[in-house]
């Protein structure tokens, strides 16, 4: 193949590929652009791609005139609470599943995977009744408890795959040096598993941050509403749908995800499939 022809083909491929990427990313780009356009420019026909003038008015209104900050605080608590509870339990559990042997261990590991696939609509009605019975209806606590139903199997399965990658010899060596198994866990396994634990924690936090269904059913007042149901509530209850305000809310909701996403690049394959796919 002659060089100019090869360069032309490479150029063509790059143009085509980037066109595809931009089409995929367009909805997100449009969200960002809409959120900084003055309201008057929203209804110009035909729509203009770039804003004639950039304004942060919608963000200001979002933060001062809507319950957005309350929702944001609730979501932050939910993500932090769920992550803390789930990671503490799952780290111990995953260590047990990987490095101990006792009857029923394999069956338990399979049960974890099974529950990870379970539809939440099956669990929601009894959970709803349970929360009402415990007097936890409309509280963040009820959501943290409900979120463990999907976050715990997920974190366990992911942590299990991270911990399996730590060589057995490391623990054995510590035991030879006189440590007992709990000391070996704290001194050897935990430091080795730390990157895995941190990335599992971040994936778990994202699951909690993005959750909608349980929040829809279990929480019905603004005081405990997270961002997902809160922002939708802004859409449903408004007389005139204010798209720029909603797009600003969407951008704000997605910002923490961008930060976490950048950090998690290395673990994406593992995190997406929770160790279910072997490369």
């Amino acid at each position: 193949m002659s060089t100019p022809a090869r360069i032309a083909r490479r150029f063509l491929f790059n143009v085509l590929a980037w066109a595809v990427v931009l089409v995929i990313a367009f909805p997100l780009l449009w969200m960002l652009l809409t959120s900084v356009k003055p309201s008057s420019e929203l209804f110009v026909i035909p729509p203009r791609l770039l804003p004639g003038e950039i304004t942060f008015e919608h963000y200001r209104r979002l933060l001062t005139e809507t319950p957005f900050l309350t929702y944001l605080r609730n979501s932050a608590w939910l993500a932090a609470g769920t992550t803390l509870v789930v990671i503490s339990i799952a780290t111990l559990g995953a260590h047990s599943l990987v490095r101990f042997s006792y009857p029923g261990r394999e069956r338990l590991a399979r049960l974890v995977l099974f529950t990870y696939l379970l539809p939440s609509v099956v669990l929601i009605i009894p959970l709803y009744l349970l929360m009402a019975g415990l007097g936890l209806a409309n509280t963040l606590t009820s959501l943290i408890i409900a979120y463990t139903t999907f976050a715990l199997p997920y974190a366990l399965w992911l942590l299990r795959s991270f911990m399996k990658a730590i060589p057995d010899d490391l623990e054995s060596a510590a035991l030879v040096d006189g440590a007992n198994r709990m000391q070996a866990f704290v001194d050897v396994i935990l430091p080795q598993a730390l990157p895995g634990i941190i990335s599992t924690a971040m994936f778990t936090a994202i699951l909690a941050w993005n959750e909608y269904f349980y929040a829809l059913v279990l929480v019905n007042n603004d005081a405990a509403r997270p961002l997902t149901t809160g922002v939708i509530n802004m859409l449903v209850t408004s007389f005139n749908i204010e798209w720029s305000l909603l797009m600003a809310a969407s951008v704000m909701m997605s910002l923490p995800l961008i930060v976490v996403f950048a950090f998690l690049q290395r673990y994406l394959t593992r995190g997406f499939s929770a160790g279910a796919i072997k490369g």
Partner: protein
């Protein structure tokens, strides 16, 4: 290379297994406790509730045995929701797989700013479904939506299209948005596998005179087979039980045109206040899913 020290230690480990078994059980105990409370108990309870007729606000109910199931199997709405569920799952899954493989192949090649392109493509999967739906409802807006303007401007349509309020548009829109949101899962799995295919296989195929298409069908696809089976099973399960995207985008409408089984459960339990019937619907839905779940579980064993 295992050292003698480590080898003797692992012998010691095995002899101490019995004693350590107790510690292992202790470490897993919190997990088992939480599982029993928030998963096993609700699961059993859902099956039990399905045998009652319960009015949600008062929680008064009576035993009806299998009547809920009989009524369900005789109702048109259940079968319609199941059919919708299958159409949605098959449609969006097909798009996700085809599009996912294509984009993965594209990102696997040498592309300028490949890392940025990869991030842009994968991000929709990370996004909250709420955000995805808000953005798409704005794009789909019949008066000021970009999509209609683009189509009008290009002369493809003469009148603005009602994307979400009429059939079959609503189902098609749903399938497309679902594909947009979830195809990155296929991309990331396929991309990881593509990077593990040895170059020699392609070189050997080239020497044998295989063109680009033949290399794809004879080398790439067979290598992707295993990962694709797992991806299809997982995505089938996840798409089948999808609630958020459908509920938020169309609410199951127009009428019940896009109502799938999870939406039917929600409607029965919290809009029609029939918790018993809703539980029965949920249990039936889970039974259907068990087929895919057991297929997946038996694959994950290897």
């Amino acid at each position: 290379m295992p050292t003698i020290r480590a080898a003797s230690a692992s012998l010691r480990l095995r002899s101490l297994d019995a004693r350590y078994g107790l510690l292992g059980a202790l470490l897993i105990a919190p997990t088992v406790l939480v599982f029993c409370t928030v998963i096993v108990y609700p699961l059993v309870s859902a099956i039990y509730l399905g045998l009652f007729s319960i009015y949600t606000p008062t929680m008064e109910g009576e035993w009806v045995g299998l009547d809920n199931y009989r009524r369900l199997l005789a109702s048109g709405e259940f079968w319609r929701s199941l059919a919708n569920n299958l159409i949605w799952t098959a449609g969006t899954l097909t798009l996700q797989i085809v599009f996912g493989i294509l984009v993965a192949l594209m990102l696997h090649r040498n592309l300028v700013f490949r890392a940025l392109a990869r991030s842009l493509v994968l991000f929709p999967y990370f996004l909250s479904t709420v955000v995805a739906v808000l953005v798409w409802r704005w794009l789909f807006n019949d008066l000021y939506g970009v999509l209609n303007h683009l189509l009008l401007w290009a002369g493809i349509v003469d009148l603005p299209v009602d994307w979400l309020g009429s059939m079959p548009n609503a189902m098609i829109s749903l399938i497309f948005v679902g594909a947009w949101k979830y195809f990155p899962f296929v991309v990331i799995a396929v991309l990881a596998r593509l990077q593990a295919i040895p170059d020699e296989l392609y070189e050997a195929a080239s020497i044998d005179g295989a063109g680009a298409w033949a290399r794809f069908t004879d080398v790439t696809l067979p290598q992707l087979r295993d990962v694709l089976i797992v991806v299809v099973l997982l995505r089938t399960i996840w798409d089948f039980k999808e609630f958020d995207l459908i509920y938020l985008l169309t609410g199951g409408g127009p009428i019940i045109g896009t109502q799938t089984l999870p939406l039917m459960v929600y409607k029965e339990a919290f809009a029609l206040n029939q918790m018993g019937g809703a539980s029965a619907t949920a249990v039936l839905m889970m039974l259907i899913m068990l087929l895919f779940m057991s297929l997946y579980l038996s694959r994950a064993r290897d």
